[in-house]
């Protein structure tokens, strides 16, 4: 059976990472930015899992790492969304450009 080579997986994960970063930088909606962050974290997850699976199959460190990253991403998202809700209350918008009272 043919396995998808590691390179392909890594290319996908790298693309995901940069798409995530790009999304973080250009999208204006806070929720979308949060999704961009998830993209970044997931690309990391893919990295860990794939590397573990392909390169170091006798240990499970990569897998565990991925597992914890997922959990933490969830925690992060929850706190972030809680704050976004508060932002919406205070600013009546979740456009990131408007959340810039403090500068210079």
């Amino acid at each position: 059976m043919h396995e998808i080579p590691l390179q392909y997986i890594l290319i996908v994960s790298t693309l995901m990472f940069f798409i995530g970063v790009w999304g973080f930088i250009v999208r204006k909606n806070l929720i979308t930015i949060l999704m961009a962050i998830e993209l970044i974290l997931n690309s990391v997850n893919i990295n860990f899992l794939a590397i573990n699976r392909f390169l170091y199959p006798h240990h499970l460190e990569g897998h565990f790492f991925g597992l914890f990253v997922v959990a933490i991403a969830a925690a992060e998202a929850s706190v972030a969304i809680a704050i976004i809700i508060n932002i919406y209350r205070r600013f009546t918008t979740i456009n990131v450009e408007n959340v810039s009272e403090m500068k210079h």
Partner: protein, 476 residues
């Protein structure tokens, strides 16, 4: 592995106990007695702090995921002292009506970030490190956004958590590269397999950027000022001292224990980052008017100076950094303490508002002046010793030019510290801050800071003790 081995996690265990007790209080204490939570929490934390000073032993747990030794214990103790001061300082603010019903949340969140930092410092692999890091960061966002009814607080929270998430993403990405190239996430094994392969170096740079965010090095620092300004001032003090201190601790530990092979590389990188950080932060700071923002940039600049210390190597450098953080805890919290006290009483947070403060509140002004002089590195206060050792540390590797730039930056920093001194002592004001008497807890905290600021410099065995401890770092 028997149960007694858990005692080498004494700091974390005690802290968790305190957290659980506070949680219980939250459940069982009625509305009328909520004020009592404050002293009890502080008391409990004081106990755990004191217990932290009991003799400690080196060791590791969970298959080397967790490790501890004399130096790490000292670091935790330093953080404990800092948190104790922050708790004392924030008591007055928490006692306010609008904060009373979320008092225990404040403590809970803050102490859980502390637990995160402890695990982070004690981590023996990147997983534990990452867990600790996130445990220290995510609740921090909640703390920053603690003041629900203030726009800036919410803004601070969102800026913090998003920036933090981005930086963790970058850091993790770097870790995945390191994992790919070394096949392990354990510090010892990673260190053993570390070479100068491009992938490893790339991973290291990503890792460095992630840590740079935590320590707020230029150009990863932009969140700092906004978050510091927006967050409640007690939280700001916590952020600027404790969480930065913890990040620097683990950063230096990781540099020395995981990436010694890359030392020539990271020396170069730190060289550049240090110059950038000091210089730009100083330039940012020169014209700030908000005291929190001002202290934010000042703390960024201090981070730049600390990099000089790290460059001095695993013994001299590490000792110096830990020592400096100790000094910094007393010093910066002293400065924040005064700002907190004034902010609590009057709501004023601008440097202009401090005009003529000495006439009305001499003790506060003197404390502030001492703290600022210490930050600027003026003798006889501890900051002088801290800075001097930082410079010594960098010079020990022959970085004289870097030291020169750093000292010149220290001179610039003196300029803006003196601006505050000038406001308090020299400027006249038509509406100076009225004389007031701070609460007992604030005064205790400030007294602690002042005492620390004076004592740490002159008592040389602290430095010696830390130096001896650095030799334990690599023995588990």
């Amino acid at each position: 592995m028997d149960l007694s081995q858990f005692f080498i996690m004494r700091h974390e265990v005690l802290l968790l106990a305190v957290i659980i007790l506070i949680l219980l209080m939250e459940i069982f204490v009625g509305k009328a007695n909520r004020k009592a939570i404050i002293p009890v929490s502080i008391g409990l934390f004081l106990l755990s702090t004191l217990a932290g000073f009991l003799p400690a032993e080196s060791g590791q747990l969970f298959g080397d995921m967790y490790r501890t030794n004399g130096l790490i214990v000292s670091m935790k103790n330093i953080l404990n002292i800092g948190v104790l001061i922050v708790m004392l300082l924030s008591a007055e603010w928490l006692r306010k009506e609008e904060n009373l019903d979320k008092v225990s949340e404040y403590y809970l969140i803050m102490l859980s970030t502390l637990v995160g930092m402890f695990y982070m410092i004690s981590s023996g692999d990147f997983l534990m490190f990452y867990l600790g890091l996130e445990l220290a960061s995510i609740p921090m966002a909640a703390l920053a956004a603690y003041d629900k009814f203030r726009n800036s607080s919410a803004e601070a929270g969102i800026k913090f958590i998003f920036s933090s998430a981005l930086s963790s993403g970058v850091l993790l990405y770097g870790l995945s590269m390191i994992y790919a190239s070394t096949g392990s996430i354990y510090f010892t094994e990673v260190a053993a397999h570390m070479g100068e392969q491009p992938l490893q170096v790339l991973g290291f740079i990503f890792f460095l950027a992630g840590m740079g965010f935590k320590i707020s090095l230029v150009p990863f620092h932009f969140w700092t000022a906004d978050v510091y300004e927006g967050a409640p001032i007690s939280v700001t003090s916590y952020l600027s001292v404790i969480s930065k201190g913890a990040a620097i601790f683990i950063f230096s530990i990781v540099l020395f224990s995981v990436f010694p092979m890359l030392e020539p590389l990271w020396q170069e990188l730190l060289y550049v980052l240090a110059i950038l950080t000091m210089t730009l932060a100083n330039l940012f700071a020169v014209r700030q008017n908000n005291i929190k923002r001002f202290l934010a940039f000042s703390s960024i600049a201090q981070a730049g100076f600390i990099l000089l210390g790290i460059m001095g190597g695993p013994h001299l450098g590490l000792t110096t950094v830990v020592y400096f953080i100790l000094v910094y805890v007393f010093t910066n919290l002293g400065a924040f303490g005064v700002a907190i006290s004034i902010s609590d009483k009057t709501g004023k947070e601008n440097i202009n508002d401090y005009n003529g403060l000495y006439k009305t509140n001499p003790m506060l002004s003197l404390t502030m002046m001492l703290a600022l002089f210490s930050l600027a590195g003026i003798p006889p206060v501890a900051g002088f010793f801290g800075k001097f050792f930082l410079f010594t540390s960098a010079a020990s590797k022959g970085y004289y030019i870097l030291v020169l730039i750093a000292v010149l930056n220290a001179t610039i920093s003196l300029y803006y510290y003196l601006r505050v001194v000038k406001a308090m002592f020299i400027e006249k004001s038509d509406h100076p801050i009225a004389p007031f008497r701070s609460s007992l807890s604030t005064r205790m905290a400030l007294a602690l800071c002042v005492a620390g600021t004076f004592a740490v410099g002159f008592i040389s065995w602290i430095y010696e003790y830390l130096y001896d401890m650095t030799y334990l770092l690599f023995i588990f």
